[in-house]
Symmetry: C2
Subunit: 276 residues, 2 copies
């Protein structure tokens, strides 16, 4: 998938919503637990109910690995189901990988070739040669952690050098010089709205993947104020707020309701900014 | 496994060698490819041939994930084989994980509970609440990236703040204040010998996991000069230099030869420092 195709989908659906598929067996409706593969069944029903208002799905690999091989099978079934039934939807393996060169290539193969995701999240700590192997894959996106939404995101990411440049800014600046940097998307938490203006000055053209709206307390309006570009440039993720809207037999309807609510808010913002 | 048990094994075997099980189907002896599970078979033979001179094995998860569910089965079989046959050997899942709190807990469950590794490598970029969920597991070690051996390791890890403190030093300093920090081990590349003295001042008591000896050009003597402590405090990893010593039918003998060579060098260093 390429950038124009993502933008096109956003304009058609009037939505830049990404739904995080972080499936915890302790949180899903108990009636699903009797099925052979409750994780996949849960994802399938959530996807079928929300695909019209979302442009991306983001399974976080931790929630699958925790169940071992069974979990990996659920992940594989989920991405296969998405690619087969909704091929225009952007898929993100939220895996936060990164290793020395040849090893990153193996991770890239795992997510881009074996599982056929459109993108994967990557941690920047190990530098250029840990990220460029991902960027070497054509029509695939590498989503680099910049400024994360969690409390610990401020432990190191906002450390300043002698010129006052923070670490996450260095990550943005440096990574712009890496090969195929146009295939980079950056993770910026919705809980950090005060940073978006500065971030857009450094990376005016790349998409941002923004988690932290909803359960973590971030505001969509605040994110859009400086985050939106003429090419939209935002994918805003909600996980728990949508998929765990209810854990009863009505979980599908409640998930759709909450996704639709966010989509409507997005539509209104896009209209006000004359982007649709 | 606890620290005393690791030290005891090092003293018994006169070795602080860790062998990296980074199994690439394009590099292993072709005669193994006819078997049902070449990756596991390769690991099993390498382990059986080297377990007397090594105290740790470190499969890098990328090399297993690249082969999908089949690869995860090989990883599961490898750790099960190790735990059953060589329970005193320290096991490291080289996975470089890390995510927001509840998600890191899922990763910790994956590696500490489902697969039953003794330790897992973790990236520090997302800060305290991305690492502490791993540290919450008793008798398990969290191996935090500090100063990595690859070229890109110098992109961000050695950035200085206004006081001249480098990012990796901040990571060492801050993480010492995290809950259960005595269960931390730090990754420091053998290609950075000039940093070991400073590192030992910040973390005098934690073990260091040192990759980069051999194929990447690091020197064992240089690492030991300032890296060794009264409790030894070092696990030095070699992957390619041992497991790919030959790709003929004699690969087991050649791997053993190279492992033994490193062990003898370690034995001589431990004796000179009066540590055994």
């Amino acid at each position: 998938m390429n950038k124009q195709q993502i933008i096109e989908q956003i304009k058609i659906k009037k939505s830049f919503l990404c739904i995080g598929l972080d499936v915890d067996l302790e949180k899903i409706p108990p009636h699903l637990l009797e099925l052979e593969d409750p994780i996949f069944e849960f994802n399938k029903q959530i996807i079928d109910a929300t695909h019209q208002v979302t442009v991306a799905y983001k399974p976080n690999t931790a929630f699958y690995e925790a169940y071992g091989i069974k979990g990996w099978k659920s992940l594989e079934k989920t991405i296969t189901y998405l690619n087969k039934n909704y091929p225009k939807i952007f898929t993100i393996a939220d895996a936060k990988r990164g290793d020395i060169g040849n090893t990153s290539t193996m991770y890239a193969k795992a997510f881009f070739e074996d599982l056929n995701f459109d993108s994967v999240t990557v941690a920047p700590y190990m530098g250029s040669d840990s990220v460029e192997p991902f960027l070497a894959f054509a029509d695939k996106f590498t989503i680099l952690l910049a400024l994360t939404s969690n409390k610990g995101g401020l432990d190191f990411q906002t450390l300043k050098d002698k010129n006052g440049t923070m670490l996450y800014e260095k990550v943005l600046q440096e990574s712009q010089n890496w090969k195929n940097s146009e295939q980079l998307i950056y993770v910026v938490g919705a809980t950090r709205p005060e940073y978006f203006q500065k971030i857009r000055k450094i990376v005016p053209n790349n998409f941002l993947l923004v988690p932290g709206v909803g359960a973590q307390g971030g505001s969509l309006q605040d994110v859009c104020k400086f985050g939106l570009t003429k090419d939209i440039g935002l994918l805003v993720n909600s996980s728990r707020g949508i998929i765990y809207a209810s854990n009863g037999t009505n979980f599908v309807e409640k998930a759709r309701e909450n996704a639709l609510k966010l989509q409507k808010e997005m539509e209104s913002i896009l209209q006000k900014k004359c982007l649709i």
